[in-house]
């Protein structure tokens, strides 16, 4: 087995004058969960479409499971599972009929097919719903069905495009448990998300913004290498203070979290707390403390340039 399930180099994808992907390179290690974190419209879905051969890149090279994409995209389709952002199974078919359809499309038939369907129904807790039309099912149920369909043919690589955007937190947790189970069995997973808590679960994370890859690394590395201090300020009049803080170029971000302000201060300042109290007299009496960076801090720090 090769070290990398996906290798992409210098991908450029343009839609007319708009550059959706701007010189993106990435390597997805086999058997790991790789996440794309980024706001809506940053190019996550486009990247997945290029990697699966659904779209042709204008520049760059893509190798997925040792296949040259898009040239060998037909061969790739047999080996990958793809869960689209929008639910894309048939609302007017039942759970079992949908799985049967997908299974047959991937060449399963007879007892092999029915065994696999039962296995998937059980694994994704859909056995109670097997004869129910999909149109009447909840977001979480549909999502489990989508994943069951995407894994019908035991793909070694799974693409999940914002899989949890229409589900409640409990279903999301369970969904990620299933992903780790799949990963345990050797499946490589590439998942896009705009939820920080999801991003934190990935083995490797690529933070995308406006068609560019801003940072790549494990969530831990990204958080520890954050080029800013995180200071929590608890004070009154925090709304007014926030505006004044943001006027300083050293302050990378200030966001209200509950009663306190979470402020990111550039690493070029050696003593952030005293810098703050020196510059903002009202803070001398306030409660200031440095705290551990989280992924949202990382995201805010590395992006922002292209934000409008």
């Amino acid at each position: 087995m090769t070290k990398y399930a996906i290798e992409a180099h210098n991908i450029v994808k343009k839609f007319g004058d708009f550059t959706a992907l701007n010189d993106i390179s990435l390597e997805v290690p086999t058997g790991k969960i790789y996440g794309f974190l980024g706001p809506n419209g940053c190019g996550k879905s486009t990247m997945i479409r290029v990697l699966t051969g659904l779209m042709n890149a204008n520049e760059g090279s893509v190798t997925v499971l040792d296949l040259n994409i898009p040239k060998q995209a037909d061969l790739l389709r047999l080996k990958i599972g793809y869960m689209t952002q929008k639910f894309s199974l048939y609302d007017d078919l039942s759970t079992r009929e949908n799985l049967q359809f997908i299974g047959e499309i991937f060449g399963l038939s007879g007892t092999q097919l029915s065994d696999r369907i039962n296995e998937q129904l059980q694994c994704y807790q859909l056995d109670q719903l097997s004869n129910q039309r999909v149109g009447s099912m909840s977001g979480g149920q549909k999502q489990r069905l989508s994943l069951a369909a995407a894994t019908m043919h035991n793909p070694s690589l799974l693409f999940l495009d914002e899989p949890t955007s229409a589900v409640d937190p409990q279903s999301r947790r369970e969904f990620w448990e299933t992903l780790f189970d799949l990963c345990d069995q050797g499946t490589t997973i590439l998942v896009t998300t705009h939820y920080m808590d999801e991003a934190e679960r990935c083995h490797t994370l690529g933070i995308m913004e406006a068609g560019k890859m801003r940072a790549i690394g494990t969530p831990e590395t990204l958080m520890s290498q954050l080029g800013a201090y995180v200071i929590e300020i608890t004070t009154q009049h925090s709304r007014a203070l926030k505006e004044r803080l943001l006027a300083k170029p050293e302050v990378k971000s200030a966001a209200q979290v509950g009663l306190s302000l979470r402020v990111l201060i550039d690493k070029s300042i050696s003593e952030p707390i005293s810098w703050l109290t020196n510059n903002f007299s009202e803070l001398s009496s306030g409660d200031l403390k440095e705290t551990r960076a989280n992924l949202e801090d990382v995201f805010v720090t590395v992006t922002g340039e292209g934000r409008q």
Partner: protein, 366 residues
């Protein structure tokens, strides 16, 4: 190869399930041919009867009354009123109360003895069908007098009518209706086929699967072939029993000819489906094909009477070729061998359509 068949079977089963669950569409499969057949069969009637007319009898003579009655018993017209003056009759025509008026002048008796023209019809000429029905009365002989008032016009030719000796319109319309209804339903169903997948978001999933374009195209049309066959049974069956349309050709020939046309229409629908981006657009394009198929295919007006440019368009439409085939088989007892040019054309149209559709259907989102 086997997996290719399994894949096609998967799509066909899925399409049939979806069709069976879409009650309105499923209802249309049966209702369209049923209702259209009854409507067209009863309403479209080129044997004109009971045209409302008025009479202006200025002679007031016995001869005038006899002539009026003779005209009335032809049943071509029905005398709804009589007027004292020509002016009143003209006004009644303008108002649309009557379609024509028969004017018998005051010197009617004299004209009879002199064997001159007896009277005049004034006719609302806007409907040519009505005009020609009245024109036919121009030379009507009168036999209710002691002598024949006008010598019969000697005939140059005798006309013998084959296949439809009683000149009933339904005989020609019912087989033609097959072509129109199949055009309508077949193109409509398949033109929505791919577009619907796109609109509902199923397409993105479908194109990441190993299914090939050509397999998808074939599998998408197969279920509708059965739909088409059901419609043929409804139309020809009812046409035969209700409108006494003779079925002179072999059933196998009818089936084969119809299959050719169904396939051609379905392929055309698929091509539309790869062009349209919404179901509404697909519908509009279907109407774009449907109208010339009704007007130019020879269903309503004879091909021979069309201007050359219209004949070219007509030749391009699958419906035209099917009209010839199905009328040939059903009414004249011909077979596909006799109509090989039209059959070949439909076959070629199907193949080209399928190829165009599969080439146009790219498995990519670019």
């Amino acid at each position: 190869m086997i997996s290719s068949l399994i894949r096609m079977k998967a799509i066909i089963v899925k399409e049939l399930r979806q069709l069976a669950r879409d009650r309105i569409t499923f209802g249309m499969v049966v209702m369209i041919p049923l209702i259209q057949l009854l409507l067209f069969g009863f309403a479209i009637n080129t044997d004109i009867r009971n045209i409302p007319i008025g009479v202006v009898d200025q002679s007031g003579s016995t001869a005038g009354r006899v002539i009026t009655q003779s005209v009335s018993v032809t049943q071509v017209v029905s005398i709804t009123s009589s007027y004292a003056t020509v002016f009143e009759a003209e006004q009644a025509i303008t108002k649309g109360e009557i379609k024509a008026a028969l004017i018998l002048p005051s010197d009617l008796t004299q004209r009879i003895t002199q064997q001159r023209v007896l009277g005049q019809w004034i006719v609302d000429g806007s409907d040519t069908m009505i005009t020609s029905a009245i024109m036919a009365l121009q030379t009507m002989p009168f036999t209710d007098f002691d002598f024949e008032i006008r010598p019969r016009v000697p005939k140059t030719f005798d006309v013998v009518l084959y296949y439809n000796p009683t000149r009933r319109s339904a005989v020609n319309i019912v087989p033609g209706l097959l072509g129109v209804i199949l055009t309508m339903t077949m193109i409509l169903f398949t033109s929505a086929a791919i577009v619907r997948e796109r609109e509902r978001g199923n397409l993105e999933l479908l194109i990441t699967t190993p299914i090939h374009s050509f397999e998808l195209m074939i599998a998408k049309i197969v279920p509708y072939i059965f739909v088409g066959l059901i419609q043929i049974f409804i139309i020809l069956g009812l046409g035969h029993y209700i409108f006494a349309v003779p079925i002179n050709g072999a059933i196998s020939q009818i089936l084969m000819g119809s299959l050719l046309f169904i396939a051609a229409s379905l392929a055309l629908g698929l091509v539309i489906s790869t062009i349209a981006t919404t179901q509404l657009q697909a519908m509009q394009m279907t109407v774009f094909i449907l109208l010339p198929s009704i007007l130019l295919s020879g269903f309503m007006f004879p091909y021979e009477g069309m201007p050359v440019a219209a004949q070219w368009i007509s030749e391009a439409l699958p419906a035209t070729h099917y009209m010839r085939i199905i009328r040939g088989i059903v009414l004249r007892g011909a077979d596909l061998h006799d109509l090989w040019q039209d059959s070949l054309w439909l076959l070629a149209f199907t193949l080209i359509g399928l190829i165009v559709a599969s080439v146009r259907f790219k498995k990519s989102l670019d």
